[in-house]
């Protein structure tokens, strides 16, 4: 099975984030949409979203590294597109399993 493309991943993320743990977001989710400022998500939501993504793709992804990198950079917010790029990069690298 071929790996999902970046646009496919964006579509998947938009579906997940449009109703994330009971919180609905009515706007369009684009690569520029910000997790905290636009979607109102907190750091703990990032941990839960990471699990949701791993279950969706059936792969373990290095979210620990991703979160730690955000922490090192002192990033208070990131764009959905940054996460989509991370997922795309690692799904391309990871063996199926």
């Amino acid at each position: 099975m071929s790996e999902p493309t970046y646009p496919q991943i964006m579509t998947d993320l938009a579906a997940m984030l449009g109703n994330f743990n009971g919180r609905e977001y009515g706007g369009q989710i684009t690569p520029e949409t910000m997790f905290s400022a636009d979607l109102g998500m907190a750091s703990i939501d990032a941990v839960v979203l990471g699990e949701t993504i791993e279950i969706h793709y059936g792969r373990t992804l290095p979210f620990g590294e991703f979160l730690a990198d955000l922490g090192r950079r002192g990033a208070r917010d990131i764009a959905v597109g940054v996460l989509a790029e991370f997922i795309h990069k690692h799904l391309s690298l990871a063996p199926e399993g």
Partner: protein
Amino acid sequence: MPRIAVGDIQFYYQQKGEGPDVVLIHGITGNMAIWPLIDLIDNLADDFRVTYYDLRGHGYSDTPASGYTSAEMAADLRRLQQTLRLGPAYLVGHSFGAVVALHAAALYPDHVAGVVLSDAYFPALHELEADITHWDGWPGYKAQTERAGLEVSPDDWFDVGNLCRQAASLDSERLKMFIEEVGQPGLDRLVRLAGTTCGEDVKAVAGLTAERIVSVKHPVLALYGEHSPFLATCRYLQDNLPNCRVALVRGAKHLAHEESPQDFVALVQENLREMAGISGSWNHSQAEPVGGNS
């Protein structure tokens, strides 16, 4: 999403690694994301089975109306240990999470192997920290809370209940200030706790008296920020706990894990490995003299 029923409460937790058990306990108004954000999980998971969870009223765990004293939260921790079938665990707690950790060591000594106290402040030792104006971080803290539309005085600056009540009743102008300075998630956390007894409960001694604190014989690392507001507490622990080592995180204040994450992670990892006999052996007398600003 790994949630587990402990009594009537659902707790959200995660677990990674193999080896002796380590449990990480965040502070009041925080959540368990603080640990992966500083890469502590991956650094510990090579040597330990690391469990980290959201305290009641926090993150993705349930929010009961009451039950937020250190004794009650230590009981939550014990039941979580039982439910997950954890062995005697090394507990790493930050701020009130550290109070919960030491209370668990006092109440359930056979189920605790060692404790890392990150910038703990104990209600029973309140008098040690009575004059916060001596803290070199006080002017900056006061200015930040004022930018967030809150009012604090030297008497109530660490009163979580006061901060929650203020956050829950901000007028529109101050609400905007708060969100700009702290962010919406920070506001949500305080408003959520405002509907509980948490603010009052965390001020209660709840059985963790000074005598009970110093009765803990486990290896204890007192890990404080070099510029912590609670260095008098750190000195007290160093002088009175029978098996306590002190380490100071350079450049840090109360939030060493955020302010100096690499140093914080290295000190936690190194000391846990010594406590567990994985590298070297624990010798509490390798203590660092605590200077301080109070």
